[in-house]
Structure formats: structure tokens, C-alpha cells
Symmetry: C3
């Protein structure tokens, strides 16, 4: 456990925090100090139980306090204080957040506050109060960093970049040509605001198109480690409020992403595409340039999206189709392949070698 | 706008620069200071108009100078000086480049020239004139950096690496075992020259194969942020003149890439593959190891290339096929799936839940 | 050649090292100083010859010592000392490793030993003997680094991280919340131990789930450049002994990877998936969350794995199917598409334009 050990919470405090209802006999004064999965919990760890398939683990657990549902509470072994609520997992997370507030955003690698020796802060940069700058971080001319923000070791903040309050910029992240809101988390190694990928193709070679726009990142966005977001060419690249972007994602120039979108690992959005609010992209989704994905659309992992997507649609496959149609095609192809003459099948021609 | 405000260009100067022909009544002495899209332009911004579908935006624009074609010029509202040329977008980019020469390559994060305090330059490194080294950059023993090159904050240049003239190495990029030409741009976080991925597989474990080659990057190459290029195992990995490689691309050991190739974001080229000149790879293309892709081939985004590709071929799909054949297969499968009995379809079996 | 020139090995020494049997007339006292491919070798370079298709290159080579098999030795030109063994390539690699021991792991970018000026080592960090810390590296509070380990320029090691002996941490890598075994190589820009991607989705926005686990990396693991491994949410993310992970790979929170697995470039393993020992993932493989991939399974490049995979299975395709079934489907679809009426084909409807 790398987080500061918690003073813990009593069962009564957990009840106040979550609105859970204790089953008769719950030990209201018992104190828990950590959370754990069923199969790995000690007597001071809070657990949750919401699926009947985990009954064997529940029977064997060493935990003594468990969040559960009314329906599941009947299975609770004696000796475990059961706390009932509508959504035990959600309540469990609420407790975890209360026990470990430090886990809610990355912290200084040097456990510092203020400007570390070995940080390079340009004299014209403006820092509000309680900003932390780790060793090796570089803050460029006229950059502005809001109160309580943390710039971790080796991060580089370019000239005139503005970063809001309560932000965390991870180790080695690089930010240029960008305006960043409040409570934004940018993980280590993310690259924001570099030149987008724009060339005019001639007969013999490519000529670079100047990339004159910026990246605008609204409040409460989280951006994963080693993710890259290019600045706009002639517009701004825009990431809407509350978006959560995973690791190794690529966002091209001029892309407009609405509010509260989810982009899982290794997704890619090509230049000038537009995503509405509440779009969900699974891992490795690719969205071609200049497309529009409507509000609330859900793109299954690995989808290759090559046409506009209507609001609320659920797509999957390569190329992406409505999920039901995709799955029907997969089934159809398997049944077709099974009916084929063996002589038509490469698998068979190869004598079974794969 | 993060770039230095331009002194601007008069319409006459734009005409000289682009060869455009002014329509009667064009205000030759008017000065523009920026470029902008139709819907976002002010009176001092240059716009271009080359597609009839943008007529509503043209009608409403505040711009007063517009590059367009002879054919489109008839639609120009009065009050806008129209400048006609064969390729209005290309002319627009020419003007943008002239207005913002600083945008053509990344600049020092500290707006420095010379060696910054806080840069770590080994005494045996050789720097030509007017080299800029940002704070936190590390230049190893016997490395050589050509005139006017910029090494941004936190970049690391390994022992004996040679970098040509007028190059830019972005923040936090790491280069080892590499020889790099002139006018090369390597964006932040790119990793060049590390060990390729080579093992001998034994019964019980993998043994590392020494990677003794280098990475050779020819003139005028641009390499995207967080892209990785492994050095050769026994040959050199080679990136030909004028190649443009986007973000998060992986190039394996011994790969030979010809001149003026285009590799879009998250593409991957596995070890010992060879690409001819002028190959274009869309986003997320994967090319298997030891394959040859012929000159001028075009691989659609997301293609999984598992066989050699002849020169000039256009491929797409998973596995990649000639584009026409791929598309015919997509259509065939959709029509097959539609004809299937509902009982054969998983979508239907699931009662419509997706 | 960026490695220290070798003193070389005589043919006799190569014979001792590899167990190869010299053909009559082999020059036992000849000394070679390097290894090279057939078509690029000089008189002091060792070559190997194990495929008849390279006979023309063999005939023209300038090399004078060649590892080969008994069967191929008959083709050896006079003037080349042939050394016969069961696996000439493996023997060749054994010699390469002996000639260039420095190539077996990345070295200090500054060719240092000890703590460089310009390294930031927290006074509470504990370093065993012969640790090398390059300029710009940051070692956090209470971190522990084992004997002979190298922390390259700009790498950041977070509070309480433990790194074993004989490890190499590449330039700009960032490690937090992790315990790392012995002889581990983590290449430049890799990110280990940051927050996994976990949110509770509400009606209006996502709430962050605290990520309280760690990353455990066992002995002899190698992790590629710019690869990302998230720490566990409530368990630990685990990378088993001897795993080899390539560049730009994403490993989600709570993932359990067995021993001696191979994950090629740009592969992705989503949260809480489990891989048994000796699993092989080709490039760009995607494995969905919470799946189990059995021991020894082989997943072809680009596979999209969306169901559990039994031990020893060989899968490919999107979605992934047993390789033979996948290939049969590809053949079936091509033959179906060929039989379609041209009017049903988009390729034809488009008049042949692609």
C-alpha cells in the first residue's frame, strides 16, 4: 500500500457516509481501515458482496464488515456486520474515496510543496498560491498555473500555456499551445498541443501546413499516460468538460470532443472528427477524419468507424456496423465457412498446419 | 494564438506570393494579419472558398479577402476581395506559412538561444553554432549537434548520436544509437534507437538477441510525438528522406522505409519489413514482419497487412485485401446476414439485447 | 557501430563457445571482431548460413568464417571456414552476445557510474552499491534501488518504489506504486504504476474510483519504450517472471500476466484480464476486460479477443476465432464476394473508383 494509512472509519461513520442500513447485530463501533476484495480481506478491511457467484469467497473471508444488498444480505455469515444499500459497489467506492483522499489525483514525486530546487521556472511565469513544482519540471515564459496545482518531475509547460486550479500534470508530460481548465489530471508522458499532422501532398514531397490553433481542455478532464492530443490547424482542438481519456490515445488536430465522453486505451480519433456529448469509445477504436459521432453513441472495442454515427447508436466491427448487424455477420460467416467444401478452405489445403 | 503576431501582408503581396489573379475591384492595399476558417474570420483574416457547400458560411463571413477559384468567384459577396487561383487551399497555406514562419517547427520551451542553465551537456559533445539546448536536456558524450538545431527541455541525446542542422528535438524525446539528417523534426516523447524486440525462444524462457544496428533518419523527416523507432539488430533501421510519421507509431528493428512515405497515427510496422518510396499508411495500419510493401501503395486506415503488397496497390480490411475486393466482401456479408434465418442470428437469439 | 569495439574471438574460441564442429581446413586461429549479415560482411565478421535461398549472397560474401549446418556446409565456398552446428542462428547469437556484452541492456546516457551531478535523489532514498543515476533523474522519498541498477537521464522513481538489482530504467521512464524484481529492463518513456482507468458512471458524469493497488514486476521482465502499465484498483497488477513486452503496449489495472509471456508492439490488455504462462500476443492484439487467456495460447497480430481463450489455442481475426476457422471465413467471404452479382457490389456501383 503506497498511500498514507488511513485513520479509518467506524461502521456508524460508514452508514452516515453511504446511507446504508445495518442489519440487526451490526457492530456499529467496529473500525475499518482499508478496503479489499472478498478473497483477500483481513479483519479491518471493508468488503462488498453483490453477486451470488462469490458466495464461496464470502464464506471464507476474514472480513467482518460487508456492504451488500437487501436481497444478498440473507447469505451473510454470522460474524460479519452487513450494511444494506441499493448499490453496494458504489457505496464501497464512496468509502474508499473517504479513506484514501490522496488517491484521487497523482501527487508530487518528491512529496514537496512549493517550487523544488532543480525546477526550472521562467521568471515571467505566473504561479498562484500553493502550486507545487517538482525537480526537473520546466515552466516556460508567461505560463500561468492555478492555485494548488501540481507539476510533477520532468513535466514541461510551454510559453503562455494556462493551467487552472487543482490540476495535476504528471511526470514528463509536455504541454504547449494549450489552455487547461480546473481539476484536470494529465498523466505522465501525455503530450498536449504539439503540431498536428498536416501536409500538402505534392508530386515529389509533402509540405508542412502550419498548425496555428490551440488545444482547449475543459474542467474535470482526465487524460491518460502517453496519450497525445494535437493542436488545431486553423481551429482549436477541444476536449469537453468531464471527458475521461485513457492511455496511449491519439486525438488529431481540430477534433471536437463533447462533454463526459469516455475514450478507452489506444483509441484514435483522426483529424477534424466531432464527437457529441457522452460518447463511449472502447479500447483501440479508430474514428476516421472529418466524421461526426452523435451524442451518446457507444463504439465497441476495436471498431473501425468509417462513416458518420447517429446519436445513441451502438456500433462494432471492422468496418463498424450496428452491433446487432455486426454480430449477425460474424455468425453468418462462421456458418458459411463451416458449410464450405474442405477443398475451398485454406486451413484444409495447408494440411491442417496453422 | 500562441504565435508571434504577424506584421501581415497586403493583398498585393499575397498576389505576388501565390500568383493569384485579383477579381476587378479587389482592394490591393488591404492588409491581412491572420488566416481563419470562413465561419470564424474577422475583417483582417484571410479565408479561402473552394466548395459550394460552404456558401452559407461565405455569405455570413466577416472576412474581406478570399482566395477562391475562377469557377467559385461568381459566388463572392460584394465587399470581399476575391483572388482567383487554381488551388485556393494550397495558396492559403502558402500565405499561412509566410505569416507565421515560427510555426514551421517547434521552438525552445524556454524561448532561449544557446545552452540554458540547467542543461546537461557532456564536455565531449560537439555543438555547431547557434544550437539551442533547453533546461533539463541531456547531451551525452561525443554526441554531435548541427548548426541551428534545437534540443527542447528534458530531451536526451545519447553517446555518439549525430544530429544534423536545423533540426528540432522535442521535449522529453530520447535518442540513442542514431544518425539524423538535416531539417528533421522529432516531436516530444518520441523514442529513437532503443533495443529492438528480439529474443530466441527456448523451452523455458526467452533469451535476448543483441541489437547491434543503428537508426538512420534521412533529411526532412518528421516524427510524431511518443512514436517509437527501434534500432536494427544486425542491419540499420532506415527512415528515408522526407517521410512524415505521425504520433504513437511503432517501427520495428531493421525496418527499411523509403522516401516520402506517410504513416498516420498508431500505425505499426513490424521488424524487418520494407516499404518502398511514397507508401501511404492510414491510422492504425499494421504491417507484419518481413513483408515488402511496394512503391506508392496506399493502405487504408486499420488495415492488417499480412502478405506482400505490390507497387501502387490500394488495400484495406482485416486481413488487408485490395480495396474493391474488401468492400465487395463487406457488402456480401451484410447481404448474407440479412438473408439469414433469424434463428441463426445471435442478435435475434439474444432477444435483441446488445 | 555504437558499441565498444570487441577484442574479438578466434575460431577456436567460437568453437568452444558454441560447440560447433569445424569442417576440415577451418582456420582455427583466425580472429573475428564483429557479426554481420551475409551481404554486408567484411573479412573480420562472422556470418551464418542456414537457408539455401541465400546461396547467391553466400557466394559473394567477403566473410571468411561462417556458422552453418552439416547439410548446408556442402555449399560453402572455398576460403570460408565453415563451423557446423544444429542451430547456426542460435550459435551466431551466442557469439554476438559474447562479443558485445554491453548490448545486453541499455547503459547510462552519460557513461557514468555513481550519482551524476544534476540527478535529484531524495535524502531518504536508499541506494545499494554501484547504482548509476544519470543527470535529470529523480528518485523520490524512501525509494530503494538495488545494486548495479542504472537509472537513465530524466527517469522518475516515485516514493517507496522498490527496484531490484541489475535493473535498467530508461530515459524519461516514470515509475510509481510499483515493486520491481531483479534484472528488469524498462525502456525509455515507459510508464508504470499510474492510476488505472476506473470510473463509476452516473447520470451526468463519471466519478473516479480510487486505484489503491500496485504493480508487481517479477525478475527478468523487459518492458518496451512508451509502454504503459496501470496499477491495480483493489488488487495488484502483476507481470510474471521473464515476460517480454514490446513498445506502446497498454496493460490495464488488475491485469495478471503469467510467466514468460510475449506481447508484441501496440498490444493492449484491458482491465482485470488474466493471461496464463507462455501466452504469445502478436502486434496490436486487443484483449477485452475480465477475460482469461489460457497457458500457451497464441494470438495472431491484430486479433480482437472478446471471449475467454482455452490453453494452447491459436486465434486470429476480428473478432478472434481459432486460426483455421478465421482463415476459412476469409476464404469463404472472398469466394462469396466473387460470385456476387456486380450490381450488388459497391466496388462496381462506384464504377471502379476506389
Amino acid at each position: 500500500m503506497f498511500f498514507k494509512r488511513s485513520a479509518g472509519l467506524t461502521v456508524s461513520e460508514i452508514i452516515s457516509l453511504t446511507g446504508a442500513v445495518p442489519r440487526p447485530g451490526a457492530a456499529l463501533e467496529r473500525r475499518i481501515t482499508d478496503v479489499a476484495p472478498l478473497d483477500n480481506a483481513g479483519p479491518r478491511d471493508l468488503i462488498f458482496f453483490d453477486k451470488i457467484k462469490f458466495l464461496p469467497e464470502l464464506a471464507a473471508t476474514q472480513a467482518t464488515v460487508c456492504l451488500t444488498s437487501e436481497r444478498m444480505a440473507a447469505h451473510m455469515p454470522s460474524g460479519i456486520s452487513a450494511l444494506c444499500c441499493a448499490d453496494p459497489y458504489r457505496a464501497f467506492i464512496v468509502v474508499a474515496r473517504a479513506l484514501f483522499p490522496d488517491s484521487m489525483r497523482p501527487s508530487s514525486l518528491f512529496e514537496l510543496s512549493g517550487i523544488a530546487p532543480g525546477a526550472h521556472v521562467h521568471p515571467s511565469a505566473r504561479l498562484e498560491s500553493d502550486v507545487t513544482i517538482d525537480p526537473g519540471a520546466v515552466i516556460g515564459p508567461r505560463a500561468e498555473i492555478g492555485a494548488r496545482s501540481i507539476i510533477a518531475a520532468g513535466a514541461t509547460i510551454g510559453p503562455e500555456v494556462r493551467i487552472g486550479r487543482d490540476c495535476t500534470i504528471g511526470a514528463g508530460a509536455a504541454i504547449v499551445h494549450a489552455l487547461i481548465g480546473d481539476r484536470v489530471i494529465i498523466h505522465s508522458g501525455a503530450r498536449i498541443g504539439q503540431d498536428g499532422y498536416g501536409y500538402m501532398t505534392g508530386l515529389k514531397s509533402q509540405e508542412k501546413i502550419p498548425q496555428l490553433g490551440r488545444v482547449i481542455i475543459q474542467d474535470d478532464v482526465e487524460i491518460g499516460t502517453n496519450t497525445t492530443i494535437d493542436r488545431g490547424s486553423i481551429r482549436d482542438t477541444m476536449i469537453g468538460e468531464g471527458c475521461k481519456i485513457d492511455n496511449l490515445v491519439q486525438i488529431g488536430h481540430n477534433v471536437q470532443i463533447g462533454r463526459h465522453c469516455i475514450l478507452a486505451g489506444q483509441a484514435g480519433v483522426a483529424g477534424s472528427a466531432t464527437l457529441g456529448d457522452y460518447v463511449t469509445c472502447g479500447g483501440k477504436v479508430g474514428i476516421s477524419d472529418h466524421l461526426t459521432v452523435g451524442e451518446g453513441a457507444v463504439l465497441a472495442g476495436g471498431s473501425a468507424v468509417i462513416t458518420d454515427v447517429p446519436p445513441g447508436a451502438r456500433l462494432g466491427g471492422h468496418p463498424a456496423l450496428p452491433v446487432r448487424e455486426w454480430m449477425r455477420g460474424v455468425v453468418a460467416l462462421r456458418s458459411l465457412a463451416r458449410r464450405m467444401q474442405p477443398t475451398q478452405s485454406r486451413g484444409t489445403r495447408d494440411g491442417g498446419k496453422e
